[in-house]
Structures are given as structure tokens and as C-alpha cells.
Symmetry: C2
Subunit: 334 residues, 2 copies
Amino acid sequence: MGTGVTMRDVADAVGVSPMTVSRALRDDPRVNARTRTRIRQAADRLGYVYDSTAQAFRSRKSGFVAVTLPSVNNANFAETFRALTSGVGEAGLQLLLGSTNYRVAREEELVRQLLARNPEALVLTGGHHTDGTRSLVQGRGLPVIEMWDLPASPLGHVVGFSNSDAMSHIVGHLVATGRRQLAFVGASEGADMRGAARRAGVVRAARMHRLPKVAMIDAGSAPVSMRHGAAVIEAMGRDVTQYDALVCVSDPVAFGCLSAVQRMGLRVLDDLAITGFGHFEVAQVSSPRITTVNVHAKEIGREVVGLLQGIFDGAVKGPVRVDVGSELVVGETS
Amino acid sequence: MGTGVTMRDVADAVGVSPMTVSRALRDDPRVNARTRTRIRQAADRLGYVYDSTAQAFRSRKSGFVAVTLPSVNNANFAETFRALTSGVGEAGLQLLLGSTNYRVAREEELVRQLLARNPEALVLTGGHHTDGTRSLVQGRGLPVIEMWDLPASPLGHVVGFSNSDAMSHIVGHLVATGRRQLAFVGASEGADMRGAARRAGVVRAARMHRLPKVAMIDAGSAPVSMRHGAAVIEAMGRDVTQYDALVCVSDPVAFGCLSAVQRMGLRVLDDLAITGFGHFEVAQVSSPRITTVNVHAKEIGREVVGLLQGIFDGAVKGPVRVDVGSELVVGETS
DNA sequence: ACTCAAAATGTTATCGGTACCATGTTACCG
DNA sequence: CGGTAACATGGTACCGATAACATTTTGAGT
């Protein structure tokens, strides 16, 4: 219902046509500067609030960029989202956010809801989607960006890194520092594709280095975080020392493991190494600092923003693929 | 542009009026079941996509609930947001999220943008707003909920707790365990009103307990997090032992302090106590666990959802004020 | 003063649903 | 079998901004 003040009211107050008001408020250079000022003042005085809904309807431009994230409750994704927000905001666009809770089925439902809002672009986290999602997105002229992954058959543009490569950095480092018997700590096999890709990366890298079979430590169903890492290691007790290194699916999980290990009185580094993933703040601040991989969460967001600008400017032609890479950050736990 | 298929096309295909299609797709019980089925099939066949923008425009119901958060990059706010998302989604509404970056001026700008989308309710974090924000929100028939605070003169409904009371729990506990010389670790005085309220709460409680003047340790400008806590304590070095307890503005800051203290080889508990705020996961998992206050981030979200339902059902009449309270969670750092 | 392009503003017709009200159609009753 | 309520569907007029095109005003140059 708003205040009921419309462009017509502002126009009448100033003595111009609604069209001129429309132009003035959008900073159309064709409007005389003095007229614009008068319109602006009248709008303020009347308490006019622009109706984006009407604009979106008439101009077929919603001003929305739809984004799906597995969860905002993850500092890494939150960081990407923050970078997106600030960048996209400057372009006069708003983000429309949905959380998939790490489930592709939920993603499809979400994408359907988001598309109903006529977004001008769609940013998806991850490269695995249901057929339903794919067909929803295809065909429509909508720019699509997949991030946080480098899918083999992308839907459109891609800004991401290889989870598998990132993990091989970790494994390579562990091998170089004399570790052989690795255990991967992550969520149960299931919906979380990113976690699965990391697990696969560890297994592949271990095989490449001719290491013994990687043990799998199941920290529960996704999403797993600090408490899951801590709980599973606590439950294992001293059995954990049979491994040379705990390779964790994420920094929070690694922090949980670290904490449990410390609590048991074991010596990290001497008794076993711990590695994380994602370069979360907790890994940099904890004592000892956790060895991890920086996957440039913020830069992913920035790259996506740049790509979106390119798309809207028309500068981007074919599908773009940006690999932000990943780099080992050696801490004090390996 | 979507696929260009409209209700008219579906109606023509089935041989009914657009009005019937509209009703059928919204599950209006007045439509004959067989007709509805035929319409549904035709819609699928033609690849029809519902245009929420048009609906929002005509019916003046956007299906949006607008939410402002200081930042999603804060596990506490993210948790509240998550609770909101799931609850509100079930009611067929979408959240429209904006981040204020802890600045009330930014909040005003944001509220203006959000209102332009005609949300059906507005959920604000915090109880401090610019006059501009207040006047934007007032008068319009829009339900408003302020959360994470208990403002003296609320804009509408309130779901929150008293930052000051929460801090007095902490201080009371510290006094009971023999601490007298407290230092508050938080952001520089500035925009962050929640931080300021917590600081004031500590000072007030200390005065009440006739403690010496509380020292102020400035961890930088808001938002402050783990690294700021760690950095400021590292910079102080052993001088920090002049205090009996570090009372931190949040758990992440407390964790940073804890980490720095450990790194210096000081003994937490013997040399000094550390307390946090917010009951973040890191406080529960760290070793030692950090004493903190649970302010029920998730429950705030749930309460807001319940309130929204009540508002939309018409069950809620006057302004509602929910105090979710706060409770001390004693860890191993005090 | 007069021409003509550039600048500034106006007019009209929508965008795709749905609120509101009207109408046609069955089904059940005495 | 006529009457009436319940059911099912249709017609019309918008919601508020703006694209597209039309028109008026201004100002520079001759």
C-alpha cells in the first residue's frame, strides 16, 4: 500500500508530466538540472518512495541478481556474498538470496522461486544441479554464473577453482613433510558435492603419491562444522594417533579436530598433523595456526561482480571461465 | 524476458479465460478440478513461467519480507537469518536481505531500497535508526519488527534482549569468581550501537559492584573479529596481565584474545579470565571453552517468524515486545 | 528576424496479472 | 418442474512506471 504517493502526485506538485518525473529520478541527462532539483525536492517533501515493482513490471528489468548459496552460515560463502553485495549494489542492482542447505533438490525449488522474480542474472554456487534446474535455466536468455567450482559442462559462465587440485596441494605438502597415513574428516557421503569433490581429491592425490589407503572419518551429515570435528575425534580417543595427518574438509572442522586433540593432551605436529580448507579466519587466529588452502572466497565474489558488469555492458560475448586457483597456506599444524 | 509465454497463451490453449488460469494456478478452490489439471498440463507443455513481478504489481502483495542485518559475515546474525529463512519460506514468502555494514546511514539508504520493493513486513536489526529511517517507516501501514535489541521507543514490534543486562551477567559472574580489574575489549567508539551498549553495560555493572574503573582496549573500528582481538592483545604483550579479566564484545574477539594469550605462554584462568558474548560455536569448541552469554540468535529468528505469522493472520493487534533474555554460559576461561 | 538543430518535455499505450463484479450452469429441493 | 443456492467461469478495469514516438521550447548562427 505504501504511502500512496505516486509519480503522478509528484508531477502534479511540480507541474510537469509523470514522464519527466520518471526521467528526473533516474538521472536522465535530458532533464533540465533545475527541473530535476525541483522534482527531487517535491518527491522528498511528499514522502515519495519509488516503486521498483512497477518499474520491474513495465521495463521488464527487475534490478535483481539472484544468488544461491548452500548456507550463509559459513564464513566462506558469507565472504563471497559480501563481496557480491557491495559490488552489485554500486551497479544499482539488488541481490536476491536463497539458501539451498546443501541440497540440489532444494536448489531446484529455489531456482524456480528466484526465476519467478525475473532476475537479470543468476549466480549459482557449485556445478552440480538437477536436470530440472538445468532445463529451467537453459533456453531463457538469462546470464548464468556458476561459482566455487569448475564444472565440466557449465551452464554458462564460471568463476571458481578446482576442489580436487586444492586438496592435492594439501596432500603434496603433507607428503613432503613426511606424512603417509592420512585420514579424511568430512561429512558422510551424500548431498554435499563440494565435500565429495574434496574427498575425491585427497584420495586421488594419495594414490598418486603411492600412500596407503586414506582412512575416512565420518563427522556426520552435511553441513559439518567445528562441533562435528571435535565430536568425532573425541569419540575416537587415542585411536586417532594411528594416523599421521587429519585432512579436514574445511577449516571449522579442522579447528574442531585440533581442539579435541589438544584436549586429549596429544601433541599436534608431533603426534599428528591437521589441515583444513578455505582459509577461514579461525585457521589464521587459532593457536597453533591451521595449515589450509586459500580458495579466495572474496575474490570469487569480486570476479563475479566484474563478470556481471561485463555481461550487462555487453563486453562479454562467449561463456567466460575464471579459475581463481588456490594456494597452500602453511600454518603450525603440519 | 522469460519465455514470453503468458497466462493468455495458456488460456487460449485450454480454451478458458485468463482469469480461470490465474485462479487455477493459485489453487483457488472455485476452479473445477478437471479444468485445473488441464490448465496445469498446458502450462507445463508451453513452458509457462509465473510472473511474480506482475502479480506483485497488480495485487500489491510482493511476497517479500525485507530484512536488514549489520552483516551476514557474523555467525550470530547468520543464524538468526537462517531461522528466518526457513520459517518464512514455509509461508510462501521470500526474504529480501540487505547489509548495513554496521552503519545507520547505510541502513537508511537500504531501507529506502527495500521499501521500493513493497515488502509486506520489515525486519530491522537493532533499535537505533536515523530520523530518515524512522519517517520512512512510520505512517505507511507496514509491519515493522526490530530485533536483537530492546529499544526504548520502538518503531513497532520488538524481539530481542538487553545487551546491557547480558553483560551484567558476565560481570556478576566475574565478580563472584574474584575478578576485580576488568578490561573491555571492543571496537572503537563509533557507529556500532550494539557494541556501545555492551560496553556501557559492563561499565554500569562494574560501578554497581564497586569495581575499579574498567579499562578500555580498542580493537579497531567495527566490525571487530578474531584477528582484531588477537592483534590488540599481542600488541600489549605482558601488560595484559595487569587485568584480572578481558571482557570481550563478542566470542570471536574473545577467541582472538584467548589465542594471543596462549601464544604468549600466559595461563588463562590463573593469569586472567576471558569472556565473550553471543554463544558462537567457536566459544563452545575452543580449548578452553570460552565463558559467554547465550543470546539465543536462533530463537530470535524463530520468534520473529512466529510474530510475522501472527501479523499476517491478523492475530496480532498491538505492538508486541518479546524479550528472549540471555543466559550465562560458564566455560573454562573464567 | 528567421532557420534549424539540439534540448526539454509531453502523449499514448502498454507490461501480465488479478480485484471486483457479473453471468452462466449445475444440482438439489419441495 | 420452477426456484434457488452453490458452483464455475467470464468481462472489465486497472496497479504505476516507462518505451516509443510526438511535440514544444530554446538557442546558436546567419
